[in-house]
């Protein structure tokens, strides 16, 4: 651990660039996924083609996408950010759609009866109720993204992934351990923050019966392609 302390400046820089490379794609992802998800629920015919697209991007190994992109974006941050954004979208869009669809019909009918138009009903009633499922997707996307960035190191853009290749070349296990532990800690930290965000955004959930929370987990699992560390690397 004294090695990590001596190299804290370098590790700090790697950490910052790691977070930037990992979180920007998730941010882009959620900004695009919410409107696209709403569209897919509103105009049902748009859903099948978009679902096919998301499942294709979900299956794409991100290393392969990084390599394809080098030809267009060169060795810049975008070469990593764009594939990870596509990956985030492939997790988030199905989650937004499933979240919106999981809103019980009586709730929608009540909103209509109260005079809510389609747009206002979506934004003020359905979207807040879909938050638990959307956040479940965000957790998958964020944690996966944080771990996937390090693969970018194979093309030289990988944040903390640098510690892996450098440690391997120098046969220095401590360095690899430090990288591994920092990435896992970052993933757990942001996962925890998202759980807190969900509690804050949906105070009513804490009072929901267990059965109901179970249902949310099930919907979220299907929505996230049940993606444990989303498929692609």
């Amino acid at each position: 651990m004294s090695w990590a302390w001596q190299n804290r400046d370098q590790i700090g820089h790697l950490l910052a660039s790691h977070l930037y490379l990992a979180l920007l794609p998730v941010l882009f992802g959620i900004v695009v996924a919410v409107p696209v998800g709403i569209m897919c629920v509103r105009w049902r015919w748009t859903w099948p083609p978009i679902l096919s697209l998301t499942s294709i991007f979900y299956a794409m190994p991100s290393l392969a996408l990084y390599l394809v992109l080098i030809a267009y974006t060169g060795l810049t941050d975008w070469t990593v950010i764009i594939p990870l954004t596509l990956f985030s979208l492939s997790v988030l869009i199905p989650n937004v759609v499933d979240g919106l669809r999981s809103v019980p019909p009586p709730v929608k009918q009540a909103a209509v009866a109260m005079g809510f138009g389609a747009t206002r009903r979506t934004i003020q009633v359905e979207l807040p109720l879909a938050v638990p499922v959307i956040i479940a997707g965000l957790r998958v996307a964020t944690v996966s993204s944080i771990s996937l960035v390090s693969v970018g190191q194979l093309i030289g853009i990988g944040g903390l992934g640098y510690l892996f290749t450098d440690g391997e070349q120098r046969d220095f296990t401590t360095e690899i351990w430090v990288g591994l532990i920092l990435i896992i800690l970052l993933a757990l930290l942001f996962d925890g923050l998202l759980v807190l965000a969900r509690r804050w955004l949906t105070p009513w959930e804490a009072r929901a019966p267990r059965q109901e929370r179970r249902r949310v987990v099930q919907v979220a699992l299907r929505g996230a392609n049940a993606g444990v560390k989303g498929g692609s690397i």
């Binding site: 299956a59 030809a71 771990s147 390090s150 049940a226 560390k229 498929g231 692609s232």
Partner: protein
């Protein structure tokens, strides 16, 4: 469009289809590594998931394994185990199996756990043994989710086996790692295309598999295939 013309020219060059570094051999190696890791993971994860789902126990452990599996950086795990085992077969097999287990485990567990209680109670009421309930009621109903888990693992392992070329494994990743090391961009481009096609083929295979083995009445579930 230089990327795709580079990749295309590499793909149609006949010397890339022969010999020990030819596409057929590399593809066969890749499938071999992937298949071996998947089978080992399958044997461990599916029975464990079925047992825990049926007994409704171990939910916390499953969720923890799932989260941990997602957070674990593939490249880091590969180089760490490579350095620790100094290059035996285990150096790539352990990481591939370790990354394949969580998706299968969590989906199998959630699939069985999600089976309607009334269904299993009815089966029990008909005099089925616990084993019969699992085999005749829970597994068929959970099948779409179980398959989704296996598919996620398969895609994951195909991609990870590519990265394992960095620690010296054969397979399609060789084109990428060697091409990058030698600045042969057309090799990298061609290799990346073959890997993308393989990933899509795996995805397609599971979509097909789902049509064949999931009972017709259950196909509405787990739509994301």
């Amino acid at each position: 469009m230089s990327y795709f013309s580079d990749a295309w020219n590499w793909l149609i060059a006949s010397q890339n289809w022969h010999g020990s570094n030819g596409i057929p051999i590399r593809l066969a190696q890749h499938l071999e590594y992937t298949g071996l890791a998947l089978i080992i993971a399958l044997v461990i994860a599916i029975p464990a998931g079925l047992a825990m789902g049926h007994l409704r126990r171990g939910g916390f452990a499953v969720v923890t394994i799932a989260n941990f599996g997602r957070a674990l950086p593939t490249l880091g795990l590969l180089v760490l185990i490579f350095v620790l085992t100094s290059g035996s077969i285990l150096s790539w097999l352990i990481p591939l199996v370790a990354l394949a287990i969580p998706p299968m485990l969590v989906n199998t567990y959630e699939g069985v756990l999600g089976v309607d209680r009334e269904l299993t109670d009815a089966a029990r009421g008909m005099g089925m043994t616990e084993w019969q309930i699992l085999r005749k009621a829970e597994i068929p109903v959970a099948l779409p989710l179980i398959l989704l888990g296996v598919r996620t693992s398969a895609i994951q392992v195909v991609a990870t086996a590519t990265i394992a070329a960095y620690i010296g494994l054969g397979g399609l990743g060789r084109y990428i790692i060697d091409g990058l090391a030698r600045d042969e961009y057309n090799v990298v481009a061609g290799g990346a295309v073959v890997i993308i096609l393989l990933a899509l083929a795996v995805q397609g295979l599971f979509t097909l598999l789902r049509r064949v083995i999931v009972p017709a009445g259950l196909r509405g579930q787990a739509q994301n295939s």
